[in-house]
Amino acid sequence: MSETEILETHLQELRRGTVVLACLRLLVNPGYGYGLLEELGQHGFATDANTLYPLLRRLEKQGFLTSEWNTDESRPRKFYRTSAAGSRLAASLTDDFRAIAAAIDDLPTPDVQPDRRH
């Protein structure tokens, strides 16, 4: 594995849980699959479609999202919205994320040497 691939893997692991938080916060205003995908991208949470769709289903099954079909437009779409439990989860996740950010700031900073191999 090259160094960039390793970096990519670490970043993915670090970001994994944040997509859930972003969905719960964004879906305070109802949204549907593709629209949410775009919105996540715009907010800096680039996500793959094949990750997002199963994730929405799982959050719905766990009761953090509610859903409703909207058939007003030509293409029927399933709209998701954050439930009361979802809002509570989003609040705890946000608190925890802030706590982690603060904890990281308290850590000693390693000296970043410029990579001489390039």
Binding site: Y34, D48, A49, P54, R58
Partner: protein
């Protein structure tokens, strides 16, 4: 157009493994999402065919997507069960094939099969047994993984489950055990000669009296060497490769003549079984001969392998 589009085929493929109850809902949502994505690409000037292909390529294998929807594991035995599976498999592979091979070859020798026939039967048997153990053990764990049952040993791990440190086989206890065993064995041989193992009047020896004096003196000499070896291993504090080789040679020198005498009919007193078992003495004698042969060979092989493994562990550690 009546032919199915790539999108139709993709949605069909993804829904194949989704439970019936969720299928219609999921299919409609998935199709809508794909159409949305294609539309976005068309808006950027792509043509329909390449846009559709690109969107479906991004979505990836439909079975994988379906597994994500239904929380189905994409592995045979996952991290939750892997260690239990691996431990059980190793345990069974240590025990079962050896027992099966031993049992079958013993039975075949008693039936008078030749060496070639036994090898011809045992080798395919071993392969069959190993394959069966691997298959059925894994199958059980695959089912457990998919039904979410706990395995028999599961439960939180505690430090009490740590394995005991490996025996080096060179402690005081090992030496005492070896010496005591040799002493008892020598005592039995002497008792057999002077008193007789069988409770008849006069006593009937189990070993052929013709072995006295020279064969028995040879036996005692080898046993004395075994005793010296046990003391040397204790003094050195571990099994070295040289000691393991010496042990193997001693076992060989002891087992080969013993087996030779056994099959020449000179090891066991020919009077012994006919006297003890009145009717079927000869038949019993043959069976006991074979069993004793297996025991002699088995002990020699086991003891040699055991010492070799201890020497290897000691040289590593």
């Amino acid at each position: 157009m009546t032919t199915a589009t790539l999108t139709d085929r993709y949605v069909d493929a993804a829904m194949r493994t989704v439970p019936e109850a969720q299928r219609a809902d999921l299919a409609a949502e998935l199709r809508g999402s794909i159409d949305d994505q294609i539309e976005a690409r068309l808006g950027e000037g792509e043509d329909q065919a390449s846009a559709e292909r690109a969107v479906l390529t991004d979505l990836g294998d439909p079975d994988k997507l379906a597994a994500g929807y239904t929380d189905r594991p994409l592995w045979l035995v996952g991290p939750r069960y892997f260690l239990d599976w691996w431990r059980l498999l190793k345990l069974l592979l240590w025990i079962v094939p050896a027992c099966a091979a031993f049992g079958v070859s013993l039975a075949m020798v008693l039936e008078g099969a030749t060496f070639g026939e036994i090898v011809g039967a045992v080798v395919p048997l071993l392969i069959t047994v190993v394959v069966h153990i691997g298959f059925w053990t894994t199958l059980v764990f695959v089912v457990l993984e998919r039904t979410g049952h706990e395995t028999m040993t599961s439960g939180p791990w505690t430090p009490d489950q740590l394995p005991e440190p490996r025996q080096r086989g060179a402690g005081l206890g090992d030496m005492v055990t070896s010496l005591a065993f040799l002493a008892i064995f020598a005592g039995v041989v002497l008792w057999d000669h002077f008193v007789g193992l069988a409770p008849t009047q006069p006593g009937l020896p189990f070993l052929d009296p013709g072995l006295w004096p020279w064969w028995i003196i040879g036996l005692f000499l080898l046993m004395a060497l075994e005793a010296v070896l046990a003391i040397v291993v204790y003094a050195v504090g571990r099994w070295t490769p040289a000691l393991a080789v010496a042990n193997g040679i001693l076992n060989l020198v002891l087992a080969v003549p013993a087996l030779w005498l056994l099959f020449e009919g000179r090891l066991i007193n020919p009077e012994f079984f006919p006297t003890i078992v009145a009717d079927d003495g000869a038949k019993v004698g043959v069976i006991v001969n074979v069993v004793i042969g297996f025991v002699i060979a088995g002990i020699a092989i086991w003891d040699t392998v055991d010492a070799a493994m201890k020497a290897r562990r000691a040289s590593r550690g």
